[in-house]
Each structure stands twice: as structure tokens, then as C-alpha cells.
């Protein structure tokens, strides 16, 4: 469990780093303006660091804010977030010496959409949600309901095999062991479909895409300052959100993330129209693992997967 009482340790670390001038800013989480939500806190103010929180709702992958920053930054990072930072270091987007990683061992983040579905109550009407071991207690309408964490954590958290940050300067709390991955029904159902059925499925899903690019905006691995989606010489896809172009965008984005995606799940979570984007990125993540025996963001000394080639490597992936 992410223990809330570790908040004090985090605040103390953050304040010291700022006070001693070891970092110019801190990137962490603070309480959001809606129930159970957190919001990124990016500040140079020592007093503001008092507002830092750690709780089972700290969903954003904050490494997204690192690219392009000048000066030293202390950043709060869960397991998957730390891997994104490592991946950014590998891609030369962030210098290791410019970040102080405040690592948070993470037992998974609560998916409020799942809680809403299970209780039939919108989150703004739920009184309390608390995580205790492998149970989650939800209070609403004067009553209480208990769920197993496997029912309410994000799908990517249930598949996580690196809950403790792979790279950190300070670990806030005790390192924790990964839990056995929980069967991923949504992905399995999709894989069992015939190709023609799957095609229809994605056609339907991508017909709702509004091309807000939130999937790209929240993704730390989408660090390009110029994205192929907006190139017009040549034009790879139409800016008009036809479903075919929406799908093409997402497939290409997934391929670009090979060896960079840490399965943080942010793309799917951010999508306002609930397109199951992780079903694409996780498939790509698994292929990378199967073919190259590679997991993104586990070793900062590694060359970026797609930027290195060894002569004995299999060539059956070449087009």
C-alpha cells in the first residue's frame, strides 16, 4: 500500500532539497479540486511543498513534465513513472544528474471509473474510498462496500511487475515485491476475436475519437516536438478525424513507443471518450518483451531499443 503517512517524509525531503538549493523545483502531487482527484504540483516554493500528497489516487505520470525543463528537478515517481524517466534518460531527453527521483513504492492506483461501475455511483457522490491491504472499502449513501483490489485497481497496475521504482535517489517507504499479474480479460477477449471482428471493433472504437491528442499529451514517451500526425509534407494522415486516420494515428503512435512504453496506462486513462488505447500499447509492450526480451526503462545505460541493432538479431520484424 502507498502509505499516506509517508507524505511527511516526502514533504521533508522536498523541502530540504528546495531549501538547500539542490533542486530548482519539485514536481509532485497535491489534492485536486474534485473528490479523490490529485493534480500535479510544480513549484519552487518551499512552503507550497507542504501540499504534497501520496495516496492511492496519484495517477499521473509526472515524468511527462521533465522534457524541456532547465535546471535541476526533484520528481515524485511511482514504479512505472521511474521507468519513463529512465527511458527519457536513454533517449537523451533528460540528464540523470538533473533529476532527483523521489521514488514511491506503489501497490497500484485506484481506477475511479471501475469504482463507479461497481457501485453504480458517480465519484462525486462517494463519501470515502480507502485502500487497506488487498481490500478497498467504499462508503456511499450511508453504507459501505468492500472490494478486492483486483476489482478496482487500473488494469495496468494489475499487470505491473515493477511496483518499486527502478531508479531513484530517495525511496519514500519500503520497497515492495510485485504481485502475480492478474488475468487481463479485456485484452484476452480482444485477442480471441477473429481478425475481421477485431477490425470492426477498432473501427467502432476509433469512430468516436475526437482527435484531442490527450493520449499523446499525457505520454512521457511522446516527447517529439513535431509529431508525424501534423506533418504535411508528406501528409501521413488526414487532420480530419475520420476513423481510419484516427486508427492510423494510434497504431503509428504505438509503434513509435516500442521500447519506450512502460505501460503506465495514462493514454487510456486520459481518453475522454474511453477508447481502450492500452489494448494497443500493451500488445506492443508484450511483443517487445517477447521478441527482444526488453522492458522499457529498466536500465539507463541501455541504448534505446529501436536505436540499436546487433548483427545476430532476428530479422523477421523487418518490413
Amino acid at each position: 500500500m502507498i502509505k499516506e503517512n509517508n507524505c511527511n517524509k516526502l514533504i521533508e525531503e522536498a523541502k530540504n532539497l528546495l531549501k538547500q538549493g539542490k533542486v530548482q523545483r519539485i514536481i509532485g502531487f497535491e489534492k485536486g479540486s474534485l473528490r479523490f482527484t490529485v493534480t500535479p504540483l510544480i513549484t519552487s516554493d518551499t512552503d507550497a511543498a507542504e501540499r504534497l500528497v501520496i495516496n492511492p489516487f496519484i495517477v499521473n505520470n509526472l515524468s511527462n513534465f521533465l522534457t524541456g525543463l532547465k535546471g535541476k528537478t526533484a520528481i515524485v515517481a511511482k514504479g512505472c513513472d521511474s521507468r519513463s524517466i529512465v527511458s527519457l534518460i536513454q533517449d537523451n531527453k533528460v540528464k540523470r544528474e538533473d533529476v532527483v527521483i523521489l521514488g514511491i513504492p506503489c501497490n497500484g492506483i485506484i481506477d475511479l471509473a471501475k469504482v463507479e461501475k461497481l457501485t453504480g455511483i458517480d465519484k462525486d457522490k462517494i463519501d470515502n474510498i480507502s485502500l487497506n491491504g488487498d481490500k478497498v472499502l467504499v462508503s456511499f449513501n450511508g453504507g459501505k462496500k468492500e472490494f478486492a483490489t483486483t476489482e478496482v485497481l487500473f488494469d495496468n497496475c494489475l499487470a505491473c511487475d515493477m511496483p518499486t521504482p527502478t531508479e531513484y535517489d530517495v525511496l519514500i517507504g519500503e520497497a515492495i515485491k510485485p504481485k502475480p499479474p492478474v488475468s487481463q480479460d479485456k485484452l484476452n477477449e480482444l485477442k480471441e476475436k477473429l481478425p475481421a471482428e477485431r477490425w470492426l471493433y477498432w473501427q467502432e472504437q476509433f469512430s468516436h475519437c475526437i482527435r484531442c491528442y490527450a493520449c499523446r499529451s499525457v505520454c512521457p514517451a511522446c516527447f517529439c516536438t513535431r509529431c508525424f500526425a501534423e506533418e504535411n509534407k508528406p501528409q501521413w494522415l488526414s487532420p480530419t478525424p475520420h476513423w481510419q486516420d484516427n486508427l492510423l494515428f494510434q497504431i503509428t503512435r504505438s509503434i513509435h513507443l516500442a521500447g519506450r512504453c512502460t505501460d503506465c496506462g495514462e493514454c487510456e486513462r486520459a481518453c475522454p471518450v474511453n477508447i481502450p488505447l492500452r489494448s494497443l500499447t500493451k500488445e506492443m509492450y508484450d511483443i517487445v518483451d517477447d521478441v527482444f526480451d526488453y522492458k522499457a526503462g529498466t536500465d539507463k545505460e541501455d541504448a534505446p531499443l529501436m536505436a540499436s541493432y546487433e548483427s545476430e538479431e532476428a530479422e523477421d520484424l523487418f518490413l
Partner: protein, 347 residues
């Protein structure tokens, strides 16, 4: 004098079925995975059980995601231009919320009054709005701070309000009155029904807890426009996605693109967003290449530019930009924390 009737909840399907004979009826649906107005399926009227508001605002009925403006084919004799036929059936939007209907009036100022946009007008002039008062506003809703309310019927043709086991149905416009006169499924409302509806309206107003003070907001924004450090701070956590703008009921920026092949082509219009770094980059350059300038623009366009041009704030307090933002960037917090001119002068 408006007509006041009622409909039982169990008869809602019957009412929609009756209206379906003369209109393309649009109603809230979650079939696509996120709540939106889609053509009513003719069966299920149970959406009132879960419906608070949609994710996709009903503005997309007037300004669709993909608008084919025209297409052409090319042959030896020359070019043949084709414009899509106008919608055949009038549309009836059932269940639109007051904030979203108010947004239609705001969109009119750009697409109907200031400039007559044929694509918009074709739909706008053939639409009937049957509103549904909110009984259960979201925690992010702040319509009461913007001169509206959960039961504001302005812009509606007919307005429904929850009562026990059904809805009170009131005509608002002349068109709404005529439609109600010709609708058989409606029942007579009693004085008790009317009193209950009024109680529910008042109760809903009390449920809106998010409040901002918009008095003098336009002037305040003008004064802090150049306060870069304020806007830099405010913008720091924004990720520059297009959710807040594309899903805003009043944002209307669009992009036009041609799709051309050897045999012909088509011109499409689709929504654009001032949050994007590539906004307006095609014709020239984005004058707001830095994120803080884009964040400032979104706030100022709604709360300063629109009031200056049209004497109206271009925000209806629907709260979608707060509810759907992936980083919980909250416009009400920004508006409440604008540096005052005194502070600025002291600098």
C-alpha cells in the same frame, strides 16, 4: 401563456416514439463508451436513470466532428462540384441541459448573427430543444455563477423538470407550444405537480456548490494579461491536449482540410483547438507558441474577448473542462486567483 403538462416516466418511450414520427430524435446514450447525444434507438428510455450530462456536448450536433463541405470529381470535361444535401428531417434534441442550450445561443453570435454560416444555420434552424432541468448537478458544475441555473429554460422550446414518477412538461417557445398541442401522450398536470417541480428546481440550485465571482472579470483579465509569471505558474501543469476546448460547449474553432486524389476530392471542416501548439500553423505561425500564452488565451477568450465583443461570457459553467481534464486543471481556481491590480501596481 405557456402550456404545462406532464408525462409519466414509464410513458417516456411512448412520448419519444410519438416525436420520432416527425423528427430525428436525439437523446443521451452511453453506447459509444462515453455519454453523448445520439439518435434515439426507439426502445430504451432508461437514460434518465443515469443521465447527468454528456461527455460530448450537444454542440457537435450543429458543428460535427467531420463536416463535408463539398466534394468534386474531375473528368475530361472538367470539374463537377457536389454539396452534401441538407438534413432531411428536423432534429429534436431530448434532454439537453440548460448550460448546453445556453451554449447554442452563444454559438449563434458567431455563426448566425455575426456571420451566416450555411452549414450551422441549416441545422440550427431545423432543431427543437427539449430541455431537462438538472436535479443532480455535478460537483464541477458552476452555472449559477454565470447567470444561469439548473432549470434555466432560455433557449429551449420545451422544458422538462423531474417530479415524482415523471416529468412536468412546459412549453417555452411558440414552436414548443405548437408541438405540445399536437402531442397526444402528454397528460394534464395538477397544481401539486407544478409545486413539486418548483421545489425540485430550488433544491437543484442549492446543490451547486462551486461558485466564482465574475463581477469585473473582463477588466481583471485585461489588467493581468501581461503578468507572465502568473500565467506561467497557472499553465505549468497543463499538458496542451485539446479536451477542454474540443469538449467545451461554446468553443467553436475549426480547421479546414482538402483531401485530394487524382479523380476528385473533398473539403472537410472539423474542430480545432487553441490549446495545440500547431494551432494556425498552417497559414502562418502560431502566435502563441508558448504554453502559458495558450492557457491565457483560452481563459481570456471566454471571459474577456467574448464579453467585449458580444457582452456575454462564453462559458456556461457546465464544468466539462474540469471534470474531463487529465490533470485536473480547474478554470474556476484560475479565475478566483487572478492577481488584483493593486498587487500588480505594487510590483
Amino acid at each position: 401563456m405557456s402550456i404545462i403538462k406532464k408525462i409519466g416516466k414509464q410513458d417516456l418511450g411512448k412520448l419519444l416514439e410519438e416525436w420520432k414520427q416527425g423528427f430525428k430524435v436525439l437523446a443521451p446514450s452511453r453506447e459509444s463508451g462515453a455519454a453523448a447525444f445520439t439518435e434515439w434507438n426507439g426502445k430504451d428510455a432508461s437514460f434518465t436513470d443515469w443521465y447527468r450530462n454528456t461527455v460530448t456536448p450537444p454542440k457537435s450536433i450543429l458543428l460535427p466532428l467531420v463536416e463535408k463541405m463539398f466534394s468534386y470529381t474531375k473528368n475530361e470535361e472538367g470539374y463537377k462540384l457536389e454539396t452534401p444535401p441538407p438534413d432531411e428531417k428536423k432534429q429534436l434534441v431530448f434532454g439537453i441541459r440548460p448550460c448546453d442550450a445556453k451554449a447554442f445561443n452563444l454559438l449563434d453570435m458567431t455563426f448566425k448573427d455575426d456571420y451566416q454560416d450555411p452549414y450551422y444555420l441549416n441545422r440550427r434552424q431545423n432543431i427543437i430543444l427539449v430541455g431537462l432541468s438538472c436535479k443532480d448537478p455535478y460537483a464541477c458544475c458552476f452555472c449559477t455563477s454565470l447567470g444561469s441555473s439548473p432549470s434555466d429554460s432560455s433557449g429551449m422550446d420545451i422544458m422538462l423538470t423531474d417530479i415524482k414518477d415523471g416529468f412536468l412538461v412546459e412549453s417555452v417557445s411558440k414552436i414548443g407550444e405548437e408541438l405540445m398541442q399536437n402531442t397526444k401522450s402528454l397528460l394534464e398536470a395538477t397544481d401539486d405537480d407544478k409545486a413539486e417541480a418548483e421545489n425540485n428546481r430550488q433544491a437543484a440550485i442549492q446543490k451547486i456548490s462551486r461558485k466564482i465571482d465574475v463581477k469585473g472579470i473582463s477588466e481583471k483579465l485585461r489588467q493581468c494579461f501581461d503578468d507572465e509569471s502568473f500565467w506561467q505558474d497557472i499553465a505549468a501543469k497543463c499538458v496542451s491536449c485539446g479536451i477542454c476546448t474540443l469538449l467545451c460547449p461554446t468553443c467553436y474553432c475549426f480547421d479546414i482540410n482538402d483531401e485530394v486524389t487524382a479523380e476528385g476530392g473533398a473539403r472537410y471542416r472539423s474542430p480545432d483547438s487553441c490549446s495545440f501548439s500547431v494551432y494556425t500553423k498552417m497559414p502562418v505561425e502560431n502566435p502563441r507558441s508558448e504554453k502559458w500564452k495558450r492557457v491565457r488565451n483560452r481563459v481570456c477568450h471566454k471571459y474577456q474577448v467574448y464579453p467585449t465583443l458580444f457582452n456575454e461570457i462564453a462559458c456556461t459553467g457546465c464544468g466539462r473542462c474540469i471534470r474531463l481534464c487529465p490533470v485536473n486543471w480547474d478554470i474556476t481556481q484560475t479565475l478566483e486567483s487572478l492577481p488584483s491590480s493593486e498587487v500588480k501596481d505594487a510590483k
